[in-house]
């Protein structure tokens, strides 16, 4: 999975340092209301929330001394696009069904 590299305005709970980075699914967490709608008091659509795991090498490149340490973060499905993650363990390869991104 790759985190979308977008920088939209407003309340977003996708950390900027992970945008554009590739990770693998550590575990799915189930549907949670979209915080980008919830933050403005709007009706919030439930979206699949996933725990993604990223290698330090993927996130920080040459700037890390410990490329095999990892960062986990919760990312809502509309921020994810299909991609093969580098360093993903084999067991994480079976794809998890993700709803396609919403039309703009």
């Amino acid at each position: 999975m790759r985190v979308r590299a977008d920088m939209p305005p407003g309340h977003v709970r996708t950390p900027a340092y992970l945008r554009g980075k590739r990770g693998w699914v550590e575990r799915p967490l189930g549907p949670f209301p979209n915080p980008e709608q919830l933050a403005y008091g709007n009706a919030a659509e439930p979206l699949p929330l996933l725990r993604l795991r990223f290698s330090m090498a993927e996130v920080w490149g040459e700037a890390t001394d410990t490329p095999n340490d990892t960062i986990d973060a919760e990312i809502y499905s509309h921020w994810l696009e299909p991609a093969e993650a580098p360093n993903a363990p084999r067991s994480s390869r079976p794809p998890v069904a993700i709803r396609p991104p919403l039309p703009p």
């Binding site: 950390p15 967490l29 890390t64 001394d65 340490d69």
Partner: protein, 214 residues
């Protein structure tokens, strides 16, 4: 002059500390205005607000320590905790409310540490209010980039054979670390073990106390 002496020095001979009075900030005024409006309109009462503050202050890392000690002594509970920490801790009376809790177990090969880079998400039901450093920009920015250096500053130096797993608490989950049970505590009961479990060991920035120090 004697007059100056009275004005600037305390009876102990030291200067008085200046008052740190300052005008209310924008957000402090906003909080007071909203609180007074909610009370005037009958939405809540001053007593309810004070009661909620008391409830927040009453939660302490002792709750989390009881959970960890039980996980160390009760394998069935440990499995339930790792499978669904919200349900397992709710059964012990530590309800997390609408949030969900994930327990992260430290082992010989993995060390977990929790940070919230976006704000200060923290498992308050188990650990009480977060320490100030947890909310600092330095901790939030550095923990995801150089966790081993941050851990070393907390006195935790890990061998290269241990993988560090940083958990950024970005959305609806809260995290508690289950530290590894200290060696030399065989046969200890849960109440004694809980005394070894520190707040920082449940954030991942510390280790439990050694049984010699207890």
């Amino acid at each position: 002059m004697p007059q100056d002496h009275h004005d600037h020095l305390s009876p102990s001979g030291h200067p008085y500390r200046p008052d740190d009075d300052h005008p209310l900030t924008y957000w402090q005024q906003m909080e007071i205005a909203v609180r007074e409006l909610l009370i005037e309109k009958g939405v809540t009462t001053a007593k309810e607000i004070a009661g909620q503050i008391d409830a927040m202050d009453a939660r302490s890392p002792a709750n989390g320590a009881a959970v960890v000690a039980r996980a160390w002594t009760d394998p069935t509970f440990r499995d339930a905790l790792l499978a669904d920490a919200s349900a397992a801790t709710r059964d012990m009376g530590f309800d997390i409310g609408p949030m969900r809790l994930i327990a992260l177990e430290n082992t010989e090969t993995e060390h977990n540490v929790v940070v919230c880079t976006l704000c200060s998400c923290y498992p308050r039901n188990l650990l009480g209010l977060p320490p100030d450093w947890y909310k600092s920009r330095a901790y939030r920015a550095r923990t995801v980039k150089e966790p081993r250096k941050v851990l070393a500053e907390f006195g935790v130096t890990l061998p290269d054979s241990t993988t560090v797993r940083v958990h950024d608490s970005t959305a609806d989950m809260r995290y508690v670390v289950i530290p590894a049970r200290p060696a030399g505590t065989e046969g200890w009961g849960a109440d004694d073990l809980a005394q070894l479990v520190t707040r920082d060991s449940m954030i991942g920035t510390g280790l439990p106390k050694s049984p010699d120090a207890a």
